[in-house]
Structures are given as C-alpha cells and as structure tokens.
C-alpha cells in the first residue's frame, strides 16, 4: 500500500493544490493522512512516518507539500519502479548531486516534468529550477527537494527527520544525508507535478541563512560520499574559507543586482510599448467596439455554464 502524508501548514493551499493531486494519484487502497502542522516540518513529518509505519503492507510513504499538485496518474507505478531497488531509501521529483548545503539546487540537477505555477502577472507556469542544465531522471543524487519525498519502508522504519533543525529549512537535505550515511540511495524519478509558489524573492532571508548554517554545522566534515575530511578545520582553514565565501557572496549579490536591473529594463520597454498602443487615437476610438466584444464574450460565457 502507498500511503500519502501531508503536513497542512496552509489549509487553503492544501485544498487547492495538494488535494486535487492526491485525488488524481492515489490508488483505491491508498491511505491519505493530512495532519495539522505541529511546529516545523520535521516534527509533523515524523508523526506521518509513525502513522505510516503502522501499516504492515506499506510500500511507500509519499510526503506531499501543501503547495505541490501531483499531475502524474502513473505515480504509483513510478514509485514501485524506483523502489524496486532495495537500496533506494528516498525518491524525489527533483534533486541534485554535489550537494553541500541546504541550497541543493547549486549541485548538478536532475528533475522530471516539474513546473512552477505562479499566480502573479495573470498567472502561468515555468519549468522549475530551469536556471541550470538538467539531467533527466532517474538519477542517483545526493538530495531531493522537499516538495515531494517518497520514503521506502526501510526509511520509514529507520530514519526520522531531525527535529533539532527547528528553523524549517533544509529538513529535506538533512533527511537525504541521513539516508546516504546509512548506506542507502537517494534517487530522482520522472514524476510530473506543479509546485505552486510565488515568484517573490527569498521571504525569510535571515531564517534561511540561519538554517543553512545549522545544517552546515551538523554535517561539517562528514557529508556522505565526501572524501574523509577534517571535522575540525584549523583557524587558518576557516579564514581561507571565510575569505572565499565572502567574495562569493559579494559577487552573487552583484550579479543579482545586475539581473534585477536587466529585468527592469526589459519590462520598461514593453510597458512603454503597451502605453503607446493604448494611447493611440485609433485605440481610443475603437474602445466602444472592444467593450461590445467583451460584453458579447461575457454573455456567451454566462450561457455556457451549467
């Protein structure tokens, strides 16, 4: 049996996105647990793990973020295929190799038909994580994104989310690192989903930075798959690393400023063009025609419904 679990941090999002996806993807014998969020994701996910572990016939636990809408009718078959390798502990729709931090997307990415659905500017969809080249799934990876995590029965029985990472970011990477430390595999599968997310920039910047530090501290010198490293680098090593990191930070910020300026410039051209179009005499003169047309469309639309 495939069990689905949702930590309902946002009831409205669950109703609009996760729920229709679950209705599409679940199988007749699937169990769906929707738990009220208790603290950060890690604690609620552990409750979901405990609930799933009670099923003797458990084939997989699918942890679905409330903003994730599964659009893949063949999800069950894909899960079974991915978990047919008994070494696989975690399956995701998007992940990466070379992951060093909670910013897993800085690694070499692998994702299936994952799109980001946004609601600003009239709404639309973009391929998720499209800023980097993509290795199509299935791929063995270091970590997968928490928007959809599929845990094997072994993972459910043996690994818990780390509730000490209480800041709410990086629980996914940490879980995958734990699985790999235990000798198991983390893989991507070609799963189709829409992730409904605003286009806004990082909202809780300070919190995210602290979570990044917390996870880095936990895994310092012992990230699974790394060559044996010094877990206690010297002051000189840290200084070198700090210098490099501070330089990288400033360059990243400068590139981000540049891309924001470029965005403004691109938008300005189109806004100017649109203003010009709508300001022309011919456009204003034909305004009644467009109103009439709109009214006609409205009438047709009203008549088409049940």
């Amino acid at each position: 049996m495939i069990v689905f679990g949702v930590s309902a941090t946002d009831g409205e999002a669950y109703r609009r996105y996760a729920h229709p996806g679950l209705e599409l993807a679940k199988e007749p014998d699937s169990e769906v647990y929707v738990f009220a969020a208790v603290g950060q994701a890690a604690r609620t996910y552990n409750l979901l793990i405990e609930a799933a572990a009670r099923h003797d016939d458990l084939e997989a636990l699918v942890l679905v973020h409330p903003h994730t809408q599964i659009t893949d009718r063949a999800l069950g078959a894909k899960i079974r295929r991915a978990l047919s390798d008994p070494e696989v502990a975690v399956v995701g729709a998007a992940g990466a190799t070379g992951v060093r931090t909670i910013a897993w997307w800085e690694g070499d990415m692998s994702r299936g038909a994952v799109t980001q659905a946004y609601h600003e500017y009239g709404g639309g969809k973009l391929p998720a994580f499209a800023w980097k080249p993509n290795n199509p799934p299935p791929q063995e990876v270091d970590a997968v994104d928490g928007m959809l995590m599929i845990l094997s029965p072994w993972a459910v029985a043996n690994i818990k989310f780390d509730e000490a990472l209480a800041l709410g970011h990086g629980y996914d990477v940490d879980y995958c690192f734990q699985a790999r430390q235990a000798g198991r595999k983390v893989v991507t599968a070609d799963i189709a989903l829409d992730y409904h997310q605003s286009l806004e920039l990082l909202r809780d910047h300070s919190l995210w930075v602290e979570a990044h530090i917390q996870v880095a501290e936990k895994w310092q010198g012992r990230i699974p798959g790394d060559a044996p490293a010094n877990e206690e680098p010297s002051e000189e090593d840290w200084k070198r690393r700090a210098r490099r990191a501070e330089a990288q930070r400033e360059v990243a910020r400068s590139i981000a400023y540049g891309s924001a300026l470029t965005l403004d410039a691109r938008v300005l051209v189109l806004e100017r063009q649109l203003r010009w179009t709508e300001g022309t005499w011919s456009w204003r003169m034909t305004e009644p025609l467009r109103r009439l047309n709109q009214w006609r469309h409205g009438r047709n639309g009203a008549g088409a419904g049940p």
């Binding site: 909670i102 806004e200 530090i213 981000a256 470029t262 410039a265 691109r266 011919s282």
Partner: protein, 310 residues
C-alpha cells in the same frame, strides 16, 4: 592646471563618452592624456600619473574611464574647491563609509551623483540617488568617505607624486578601494564632491566573477589590520565562513528568482500587447496609424520651410 587622464581600449566608446564630456568640462589649458591603455588599469593609471607628476603647475589629475562622461561645465571649479583643503587626497562623486571590501557598495553609500546609462533593451538611464539634489534621500551628503567609485577620481598633486596604484592586485578590480586606502593610510582625506557624471555601462555589473573574487580576497588580505574595518566581519572565522556561504547561496537564489520573475512579467506584458495588436479594432485602424506615422515623419522636414525657422 587641471589634467585629465583616460586609458583607451575602445576608441569609439572614448569618443562617444569621455571625449564629449571633456569637451564640456575641461579648461582651455587642461592637459588631456587620452592614450591607448598600457596594460591593466593599475598600470595604465600609473603611467598617466607619471606624466601628470611632471607638470609643474598641476592642480589636480582627473582619472576617468573611457565610458565616463562629465556633465558639469564648472567641473574644474568644483575640483579646485574640493582640493582647497591640503589634507584632501582624492575626490569623487560616488562614495561610501563602513566599507569592508572591494564591494564598497555593500557599505553605507553617502553620495551617488551619476547616471547609469545602458544600451540593452533599447537603452535607458538609471539616475543614482543623488543625481538630482531635489530628489536625494536624507543620507545623501558631501563629505569624507572610506572609498570612492573609480570611474571618476580627482587626485591632488601630492597624491599624484606620492601614491601609485598597486599593480600586484590584478587586472581590473579593487584598484579604487586600494588607492583610497593608500591615500588614507598616508594621512590624506578621501572626499565626495558635488560634481556629476554619466557612466555608460552595461547592466551586467560583474563580467568577470573569478577575477573579481580573487581581487576581493587579495585586497582584504592586504589591508586587514591596517585600516579599520577592511577585511573585517562579525564573529570567528568559522562563523564568518558559514554565514557568508549561506548568504552567497541566498543571493544566488534571489538571482534565479529574479530571472523567473522577469520571465513571468515579460510574458504577461507580451500577452497584453499581443491581445491589443491582434484585435480586430487594432487591425482595422492600421491605415489610420499609417497616415499618422507619415505625418509625424514629414512634419520636421516641412517645419524648416516655415518662415523664421532654420
């Protein structure tokens, strides 16, 4: 005499930007050293300083990038005013305090009297915050700073004869901060002044990230402990490393999201524009706009036939 120095790698850019500004702002007796670049910016500027240092009546050397256009007709007067105090070593129109690295803009910027003029997407201007005093925020002020933006520097004769750009630092980045730090270490003041310029520059702010990062590290190592603040940061080296790594990842994430935002906004506007120009009403009125366009084009040509107009 106020001398001007400008190393040239692109003669067309020089002609369009720096030269046209010099025609406006230089004085009849000004020496203008506009020469092909002699290597890195550090080397080129040092060569220009050697030349200026030989001028007995030198009042100041103004170093400017080839894409910098001066706009003040009384620029030389403002430079003289700024350098009246013999302790002042370097003047500029963009500066900051609380600077810790070559990313001086991450400090507290006190003055930014320039326009960023770009060519991409049909071109445009981005006036910096103190371009127009009437619109300037309350923190905009003229005064002593830690460093200046190197696209326009006015240098006192003492500095011209006693300080050089540090050629060991690389090819391009960090020369301005390092030069200002040298002047300050020598006891001279680095000040902003009330002159303005147009910086004709791409919207891409860092074209050579690796070179930029190398310079960032070199300058921090060079000045750590010599000038307060430079190369410093809160916490232990370990804390600094972990924090900076996190903040770098956050900055990249914001960069990626800005790209997504751009795509969404552009899509939306294109959709609106498409639905406007694909509409029947737009299509049937095309001949009217054609007539209007012809009238608009011919109007200036006909205008010169009106008596009293050239």
């Amino acid at each position: 005499m106020i001398a001007f120095g400008c190393p040239i790698t692109k003669p067309d850019v020089y002609a369009q930007c720096a030269e046209s500004g010099l025609q406006r702002s230089a004085e009849p007796d000004s020496a203008i050293f506009a020469e092909p670049s002699g290597g890195t910016i550090f080397e080129s500027y040092n060569q220009l300083m050697e030349k200026a240092a030989r001028l007995d009546d030198l009042e100041a050397l103004v170093l400017l990038h080839q894409d910098t256009e001066l706009v003040d007709r009384d620029f030389c007067h403002k430079v003289r005013e700024g350098l009246k105090d013999p302790d002042v070593g370097v003047l500029g129109c963009v500066g900051a305090i609380g600077v810790r690295s070559i990313a001086w803009w991450e400090g507290s910027v006190t003055l930014a009297s320039f326009i960023h003029r770009y060519q991409e997407h049909g071109g445009g201007d981005i006036p910096a915050f103190s371009w127009a005093w009437a619109d300037a925020p309350p923190y905009a002020r003229i005064g002593e700073v830690d460093t200046l933006d190197g696209f326009l520097l006015a240098i006192s004769p003492w500095v011209v004869r006693n300080i050089r750009f540090d050629e060991s630092l690389g090819c391009l980045h960090g020369y301005d901060l390092d030069f200002c730090l040298q002047a300050r270490e020598a006891g001279r003041k680095v000040m902003t002044a009330d002159f303005r310029a147009i910086h004709h520059h791409s919207l891409e702010l860092v074209s050579d990230p690796d070179g930029w990062m190398a310079a960032h590290i070199k300058v921090a190592d060079k000045w750590e402990g010599r000038i307060k603040g430079i190369g410093s940061g809160a916490g232990t080296w370990k804390q600094r490393a972990q924090r900076a790594e996190a903040e770098a990842d956050a900055a990249w994430l914001n960069h990626y999201r800005t790209q997504q935002l751009a795509e969404a906004r552009v899509k939306d506007l294109e959709r609106a524009l498409g639905s406007a120009t694909d509409s029947i009403s737009w299509k049937i009125t095309a001949p009217l706009r054609g007539i209007s366009e012809v009238r608009r084009r011919t109007r200036p040509r006909l205008r010169h036939l009106v008596p009293g107009r050239e």
